[in-house]
Assembly symmetry: C3
Homo-oligomer: 184 residues x 3
Amino acid sequence: MASKSCVLLSFFTVLAVSSAYPFKNKQYKPCKHLVLYFHDIIYNGQNRENATSAIVAAPQGANLTILAGQFHFGNIVVFDDPITLDNNLHSKPVGRAQGMYIYDTKNTFTAWLGFSFVLNSTNYQGTVNFIGADPLMQKTRDISVVGGTGDFFMHRGVATLTTDAFEGEVYFRLKVDIKFYECW
Amino acid sequence: MASKSCVLLSFFTVLAVSSAYPFKNKQYKPCKHLVLYFHDIIYNGQNRENATSAIVAAPQGANLTILAGQFHFGNIVVFDDPITLDNNLHSKPVGRAQGMYIYDTKNTFTAWLGFSFVLNSTNYQGTVNFIGADPLMQKTRDISVVGGTGDFFMHRGVATLTTDAFEGEVYFRLKVDIKFYECW
Amino acid sequence: MASKSCVLLSFFTVLAVSSAYPFKNKQYKPCKHLVLYFHDIIYNGQNRENATSAIVAAPQGANLTILAGQFHFGNIVVFDDPITLDNNLHSKPVGRAQGMYIYDTKNTFTAWLGFSFVLNSTNYQGTVNFIGADPLMQKTRDISVVGGTGDFFMHRGVATLTTDAFEGEVYFRLKVDIKFYECW
């Protein structure tokens, strides 16, 4: 009888744990996997030719020193960034990353992302759509792949972002490790 | 026999209804269920310390009285709001709601939402990503849970929003009843 | 033996193609299909009554001639557009298309879309949530249906956009061919 109780106890313990962290024991294997880079050059008033993004909104009735110091809280940036297969800005682009990011913390750098990869290369034709939170001071951040079209028809997955280069307020490069778990 | 007919009649009535509203007779049971609150304090120019959100965009060549009266049509608000387990603004936060809402009707209050829950508590580590329409004068509104990461890896579901408190243009609190139907 | 090799060769050719364009050999049949139109009348400062959308953000420290010529790069437009069953602006609306689009290329017209269909008609009650890239100079463009509520509870799919009418900077009409592949 004692052993039966013990089994039951273990059983409920497992249930409790699996309710709190259900995924952690599962190792899903992606059905498709892509690693790409995109490159963002922020418009500063003088770099019309090279710029790939621009701040388009900022807090009303505020300025940086009042509301958000140097953390850009509330800024919305629209971008059309080249995507490359390696980390070289001058490599032949395989598509464009298009959409927006929003700086959304007052006392550190975090962003909220809504954008698409529009791929147009020998290997891939189609779009991949992303949304998610980007706590960009962390080494890696996961966002959601919520859909796709063309070669990525109905796909879903998770993309891991890494800041691969960051040059002040001028240029940054993100590495995007896309793991699709629903492929169709 | 009478009771059997009655059962049959009920059966066909149910079928007829289910044709017009196919989902309404299906009772899906969530595989995971969370109820959380988030708190929004709008920046008014004087509350730098307490503010958790700010209007960052508004219609060009217009002002409120011309295009949208008091309904804020076109305003984009960026937020970084604390999430709590109960309805008390001063409870220990379990994470942050980060993203934006857009006021999008000229003659009433409605919004479009794109945001993430970034959860960082004993029970949950991970993000949940939401988008959807929020006709905020209605008692309850449903939006989509389109993806997640960490403990919410690949999750999908529906979140029901309720305005739990509303203090003029200063503070509001939303109750978010998250029902996940795909859990992985 | 020659014919056997030939079959094998064909087999590997098919494999190679299917690896590059895995979806193209699959013909999925939608579980639900809707064709709807929505109508966008941009606010120009004088059309308060009729306008259904407004530019709410634009590049800072720039003007159109400097950064983006006539292509509206960086403009964010918030909309609340009527949805109709046919291509007539004056037909009885079956709902509203609410959300935003962002012009996101410097040297042509492309947009990024985040919006919802809020349907309220005899046939459909519920919302459909969309995101995706819209290279609007192309005849048709596919975006993702990432979720839904009400009659579209948990639905996913792909929507094909066609510009059905375009009258300068004043009015456009999009045909939206929604194919749901996950219906619940």
